[in-house]
Symmetry: C2
Subunit: 494 residues, 2 copies
């Protein structure tokens, strides 16, 4: 793939000056059309040879476009805060919203290549990384992010000439660093590696464009045109129309586990008080220990309406150091959240090492309420299963202990609690027309829940079903589940 960018492409001044005004006008129009359509965003990944002109390209693009709607982010060595979060966190939090253009310099490709070169990682490991990158980019594409992957390349002699010219003039020598010369010396050695990376990650939804960077005029116009085409493609309304994916008929069997739950399980008062304090004590100790400081905890509370999530959460938070946890009640997304891919609003709250995030409802909304109510088309919620599994895998790889709890009650118990809520002034806020509406769709929810548990109960992030007909029993089971997972995970060497 690199060969095409070793041909000595150049653009003469006259041609450049003819091309640029038209290109700029078109870029601006396309930018406004994107913004108007609320589509995209367009994310330009600038990678390639050190000294290939990444910074100049980013500057040129912001000059040609309306800079108010362009955000350039350059990634360097990780800060402590970045190291304490899962690797993908810094890329997620920098993602531009819909209608905008983002330029990422040295993002995941530069990092993957540097890790490979520095640690002399074996090829399998690199391929594993590239596989995860492909999946990540596919997900971004599915969410409407238009990726423009630009690899800046040039012939070895052109790179040498460029670096020497800059280096020899005392006014520009500061532009050339040891990193640039190292890249030059390693030119041949890296060539195959770059080829491999490009080949492995050039996909239908996110292909690479290799651009020859020796001639600045050629480079700028070529990249300008690429961005223009992507802006136009992103704004085109038809592009997100997925072929309606066939929805598998919900298998009767997978509902069985849910229906077979023994909802008569209960706990007498005495047992409850004794066990509650004991378990809270163990949670307190486990989450304050040295071993936990190297891990983190993500707790997901989901459940049937009125199953008692709030009460169970309070019994948990009472045992935690308030400085270490963050409770995230998942309500309607803000407009900043709506302008980003689905998982972005959860990435915002992913805890750092030593931290705890408790989600009162979660990313599972996509395969529950959004599926059943039809807010998300089948293609979106179907791919959500995979995306969610990968998201949780990202968390687990970074040391998070992911605990997912489904609190379940019967239809009869729900009716009883709904009525009680309606009859109690300070509980009536918990019950509205929406709850009654959801209740009517009980069988559809039952299937969605069963599917969710089937498809997202993984080794690293299993679901625990909690019989919640008796609130005390449920609270104890929640705490016990947490204690057992924490003990098992913290015992394990990593």
């Amino acid at each position: 793939m690199l060969e095409a960018a070793e041909a000595g492409h150049a653009l003469d001044k006259a041609a450049f000056e003819r091309a640029v005004p038209r290109l700029r006008t078109a870029l601006l129009q396309a930018q406004y059309a994107l913004k108007e359509a609320g589509a995209g965003p367009v994310l330009v990944l600038l990678s390639g040879l050190a000294g290939g002109g990444r910074s100049e390209t980013a500057n040129r693009l912001t000059e040609w476009m309306d800079p108010r709607f362009v955000r350039v982010t350059a990634f360097g060595p990780r800060t402590e805060e970045e190291r304490l979060h899962p690797p993908a966190w810094r890329y997620w939090t920098a993602l531009p919203p819909k209608g905008r253009v983002g330029i990422f310099m040295n993002a995941w490709y530069t990092e993957a290549i540097a890790a490979h070169l520095d640690d002399l990682r074996d090829a399998d490991r690199l391929d594993g990384t590239l596989q995860r990158i492909r999946e990540h980019e596919q997900m971004l594409a599915d969410e409407g992010v238009q990726l423009v992957k630009v690899w800046l390349h040039m012939r070895r002699e052109d790179l040498r000439a460029r670096l020497e010219k800059l280096d020899s003039d005392k006014r520009t020598t500061w532009r050339v660093t040891a990193e640039h010369w190292r890249g030059y010396r390693r030119y041949h050695r890296n060539h195959d590696l770059f080829e491999h990376v490009l080949r492995e990650t050039s996909t239908a939804s996110a292909p690479w464009s290799v651009v020859e960077g020796a001639d600045e005029r050629f480079r700028d116009v070529a990249i300008g045109k690429l961005v223009l085409a992507s802006l136009r493609a992103a704004a085109r309304p038809a592009r997100r129309a997925h072929a309606a994916a066939p929805v598998a008929p919900a298998a009767l069997e997978n509902v069985k586990r849910l229906r077979d739950l023994d909802l008569t399980l209960a706990l007498p008062d005495d047992d409850y008080d004794r066990q509650l304090e004991a378990l809270q004590g163990r949670v307190a100790k486990l989450t304050r220990g040295k071993r936990f400081a190297k891990r983190s905890l993500v707790v997901v509370f989901e459940g049937v309406d009125a199953a008692g999530k709030g009460g169970a959460i309070r019994r948990l938070t009472a045992a935690l150091d308030a400085r270490s946890y963050h409770l995230i009640p998942v309500a309607a997304p803000t407009d900043e959240e709506r302008a980003h891919p689905y998982l972005w609003r959860f990435w915002r709250y992913v805890p750092r090492r030593g931290g705890i995030a408790i989600f009162d409802r979660s990313w599972y909304g996509r395969v529950l309420v959004e599926r059943v109510e039809g807010y998300a088309p089948p293609a979106d919620w179907l791919r959500a299963f995979d995306e969610i599994n990968r998201f949780e895998e990202d968390l687990a790889r970074a040391g998070a202990i992911v605990v997912k709890l489904w609190l379940h009650i019967s239809q009869a118990k729900q009716l009883e609690r709904f009525r009680e809520r309606e009859g109690t002034p300070f509980k009536s806020f918990k019950i509205g027309p929406e709850d009654w509406r959801n209740r009517k769709k009980w069988p559809a929810y039952e299937h969605a829940i069963a599917d969710m548990i089937d498809r997202t109960s993984t080794e690293i992030a299993p679901w625990t079903l909690v019989e919640a007909e008796d609130k005390r029993f449920a609270r104890i089971k929640v705490l016990r589940t947490l204690v057992e997972r924490l003990e098992a995970e913290l015992r394990r060497k990593r």
Copy 2:
């Protein structure tokens, strides 16, 4: 002030059970009214004796209210990321949006007291801190944040009994830490200090409420009522009606400096190219050096429409390491930004140590366009001068070098550039009806600019007026100003 909370307040069970349902209903109604009005937020600061029941109170409040609209944040020792930012940064970024309730545990008071006790700081230094806290709280109040400052207190013997009871039961002993017993031993020694802090920071807009915490029922109901009253006060529409502050007639004299700028200053091409590269080289070196790693840089670009801010910014960013700077074009605020105090959206982008933030337009919008166009009432933009000065002082205290540039051109030159923009397709996005409208208000803007420079040009963050009739002259002056400020600041011992 503490004495009132050493009286042995208690609430019997029957009274508690009568009070709670009414209180919860009222809290919920008030919470929804606040949300409906888009007012507030209400920010509850929980401070006081260690072991006084801060966590339990926070848990109780989230139980009684609708937890989806309550956010609890507990502050501990600073993380590295927090240490690398100005002290106020972590409080700003945690501020809840309008319509919500925030609960801050151990925020600025706990930190100020701990710093005083640990370093045995002298009393003057503490008083300086308290003065800054008063100013900060006044600003929050002016911005519609309703502060509820709760100090949890109890008699020494009650504290002892409470700690002993918890400690003696192996199920609850984990709740008691060394910090609690240290607080107990220091009870008398700290008493006067706490009194002093409370007295000094109990202001009309943000008074303290000292609540006796020995009896949980009394404590919870008392605090619930305080929060209720604040929710109601915040939602009341009349409360933000300021007495129209008298607007000082713009003094003719202060416009003189602006009018006297020598706009004929220009630079020949040759000089320009030579100086540009040399200055970029110096900026590059200065911002990549060891000394800079301990500081940060905040550059504010403001100026008349069409004065050439964008071009000057690009000449600067071309010299910077793309990983170290963040360019923030200030456009219309997002809804998350609108739901926070005015300066919040800028705090989001305050750089960490070693970082650079470049603002293309800035917080000065409040005293320019918002003042002239009447978007902000006089009371708001008048107090903005002080708030801005304090904001920049916060930055400077934390090591930021604040450089503010005003790019100025004549009315005639602006007309010429507007017409050129209209005639050039790829520049026409830079010109719209708004620009022509602003242009008609030239004299009003001139006075606003002059006032701004008068009132916010401080020793630590002076304004530099840049004659921008000749773009090359302006760009060189911008870079030279930066180089000189950087050199002077980095030379200085801190």
